[in-house]
């Protein structure tokens, strides 16, 4: 199954090792890898022959109080190791001291001698009430960048899984929860890039990711989804202590909408992102994704909703 020119097959283990090696030892504990690479490492990491289709490796800098300093240290260290700024059409060059926060490019860096993927630095919101997207300036020798934070990224900080390389990966359950909360309904916003020549709604991609994570979890461990409600509740209580119950009410809304028969075109988009993402080695049918979504509702979402009563 061919990858498009932006998305490549990468080995999760090899990429994590390369990142860990390039990052100062003291900063490794500040990094939590999230996104498809984290999921790929969790589910495919032990098989060196299995790869993940991705173009970016999202690295969450945590905790928030150390994020700016850690972000600067990490970026400088990577620049010293010959990593380069990853230019885009919108941001062809790093920012300067004069660049306003909301005009700064995101801190994205290419590894030396490769353009197969790049690292993107993010951080968590300052508080549980801070759900909007924020741009946090970091200054480096190569220019000024934005350390982006938004929404429910803090959930990915909850009990991450430590790897042998000294950096952690986010739990699939928490990444799924963050995506579910980000999309209580299917929005019209589309991805900036195409996924295998198709323009896909952001909601469908992220909810498709949730379904892929659920499917992979069940594939790796019988009844894995049954453990999600307690973990979700604990994560929500930890990160959103004052209004976690309100958040529980929106966890299943977007997923339920995606599974409605009249929204089959959206489910098909979600399926497409799975086929060219985490489930590339076993592309699902619409029916498989639909029943996976229903399993997730019955085993995880509904029990969580009962726990919040």
């Amino acid at each position: 199954m061919p990858a498009d020119k932006l998305t490549k097959l990468v080995s999760p283990r090899a990429v994590l090792k390369q990142i860990a090696t390039a990052i100062p030892t003291g900063c490794r504990e500040n990094i939590i890898v999230i996104g498809s690479l984290a999921a790929g490492f969790r589910f495919f990491g032990n098989d060196p022959k299995l790869y993940v289709l991705t173009k970016d490796v999202d690295c969450l800098l945590s905790p928030r109080v150390e994020a700016i300093a850690a972000g600067q240290a990490v970026a400088e260290s990577l620049f010293e190791a010959k990593w380069r700024y990853h230019p885009t059409d919108e941001f062809p060059a790093p920012g300067t001291a004069k660049t306003k926060e909301n005009s700064l490019p995101v801190a994205r860096l290419d590894p030396p001698e490769s353009t197969d993927w790049f690292i993107e630095l993010l951080t968590v919101p300052e508080s549980e009430n801070d759900l909007d997207q924020r741009q946090n300036r970091i200054e480096t020798s190569q220019g000024h960048f934005s350390l982006c934070s938004f929404g429910f990224l803090s959930l990915c900080e909850y009990k991450p899984l430590m790897t042998e390389f000294g950096i952690a990966v986010a739990r699939p359950e928490m990444m799924a929860l963050a995506n579910l909360l980000h999309h209580p309904e299917i929005g019209a916003q589309t991805m900036s890039g195409l996924i295998q020549d198709r323009r896909i709604k952001r909601s469908n991609k992220d909810l498709g990711r949730v379904l892929a994570l659920a499917w992979l979890s069940e594939a790796s461990e019988t009844d894995a989804l049954l453990g999600w409600p307690a973990l979700w509740r604990d994560g929500l209580q930890t990160k959103f202590p004052s209004h976690w119950r309100n958040l529980v009410r929106r966890v299943g809304a977007g997923l339920r909408q995606l599974l409605e028969p009249e929204n089959e075109p959206d489910l098909e988009e979600a399926r497409h992102t799975c086929e060219f993402g985490l489930l590339a080695s076993k592309p699902p049918t619409l029916e498989v994704l639909r029943v996976t979504g229903k399993r997730l509702l019955v085993d995880a979402v509904e029990p969580l909703e009962r726990l919040a009563l």
Binding site: V288, V291, K294
Partner: protein, 352 residues
């Protein structure tokens, strides 16, 4: 005019209509997801309607998973290729979330029959226990149940109350079994020996007599029977019991079998449409299948007599009665295990 189910049509050998009312043939598609299947069925309906001058065809879609606009497209597409005089004899009925739409509206007698058509074509269709042959097998199973467990003779009243059958029905059944019964002076009855001939006949019709429904996995990652059982325990259903291999092993732990490829359940639904909604709670990936070549993760057998005779177990489990378990083993083609299970009972060893 009587509504009949699973009828043959003389001009269409090999075809069995889901339901027939006079000149109207009903075909029911449940949970339809595949537009291709819809198109095929529409053409089949056209063929049915063309087969006899006064015959009509009604296609009923129960809870279709295809969008309304797509259904309309397919219906209009069919109209463009089927001869108008035949298409006029077809109707499309859609039931969605309890609401029924008809295109075009049905004549009153067809409309009034819809509820029965839909409930009568549920998976594991209810066999009304008042019909003679089914009541006979209910009585037979009860007598075998009592005989296997060494519980001695039973009163006719007990048979009537447990089977949910009338005195004449039970009496007729007992007359058919006279050659293997002991009739006591107090009018209680019991089997003298295991009625092999009648048992073999029961096995031949057990699928239909028990309304067996099979459910296969649609996720590509079938849940194990153990996983389904754990979920069943949480549901705490009083109308569902475990049969099959697990049930047999409950009564006879040394049963020689390793592993368990599927979960057999007995669902108690006396005289009413079975409620399969609990299956979605066990696993939403399970879908009813009528294909015998498709492995079933879950098989549900209906217990339609008045009393279930489930045996309470621990941790939310109930056990189906041993006759149900024995029938389950036969249905699963586990003949050596069925024989071993049957022979494990004291009664079959010649003891009382």
């Amino acid at each position: 005019m009587t509504l009949r189910f699973e009828c043959r049509l003389d001009d269409l050998p090999g075809f069995r209509a889901d339901a027939v009312l006079g000149n109207t043939v009903f075909e029911v598609l449940k949970d339809l997801r595949d537009a291709r299947r819809l198109r095929t069925t529409l053409l089949e309906m056209a063929r049915i309607a063309a087969g006899a001058e006064k015959r009509r065809g009604v296609l009923v879609l129960d809870n279709p998973r295809i969008t309304e606009s797509r259904l309309r497209e397919e219906w209009e597409g069919a109209a463009s290729v089927i001869r108008p005089d035949i298409f006029r004899k077809l109707s499309l009925v859609i039931r969605q979330a309890g609401q029924i739409s008809e295109n075009p509206p049905l004549p009153a007698r067809e409309h009034n029959a819809l509820e029965d058509v839909l409930s009568g074509t549920c998976p594991g269709r209810t066999v009304r226990p008042t019909r003679g042959s089914e009541a006979f097998y209910d009585v037979l199973r009860l007598l075998i149940h009592q005989w296997l467990l060494g519980r001695g003779p039973v009163a006719i009243k007990w048979l009537m109350e447990t089977a949910g059958a009338s005195h004449p029905t039970v009496s007729n059944a007992l007359r058919r079994l006279d050659h293997c019964l002991t009739r006591h002076s107090d009018r209680r009855v019991e089997l003298r020996f295991f009625p092999r001939e009648e048992w073999v006949r029961l096995l031949a019709v057990s699928d239909k007599a028990r309304g067996t429904a099979r459910f296969a996995d649609r996720s590509g990652q079938a849940r194990s029977p153990e996983s389904l059982l754990r979920r069943l325990q949480k549901l705490q259903r009083s109308d569902v019991a475990v049969g099959g291999i697990w049930g047999a092993k409950h009564y006879y732990p040394p049963l020689d079998i390793v592993g368990n490829p599927r979960l057999d359940l007995s669902l108690h639904c006396p005289g009413k449409t079975p409620d399969f909604s609990f299956i979605e709670r066990l696993d939403p990936a399970l879908a009813h299948t009528e294909r015998r070549d498709e492995p079933a993760s879950l098989v549900v057998h209906l217990v339609q007599r008045a009393k279930a005779l489930f045996e309470p177990g621990e941790e939310g489990i109930q056990w189906a009665d041993p006759v149900e378990c024995l029938l389950d083993l036969h249905e699963a083609r586990l003949e050596p295990q069925a024989l071993e299970f049957l022979n494990s009972f004291h009664a079959t060893k010649g003891g009382r």
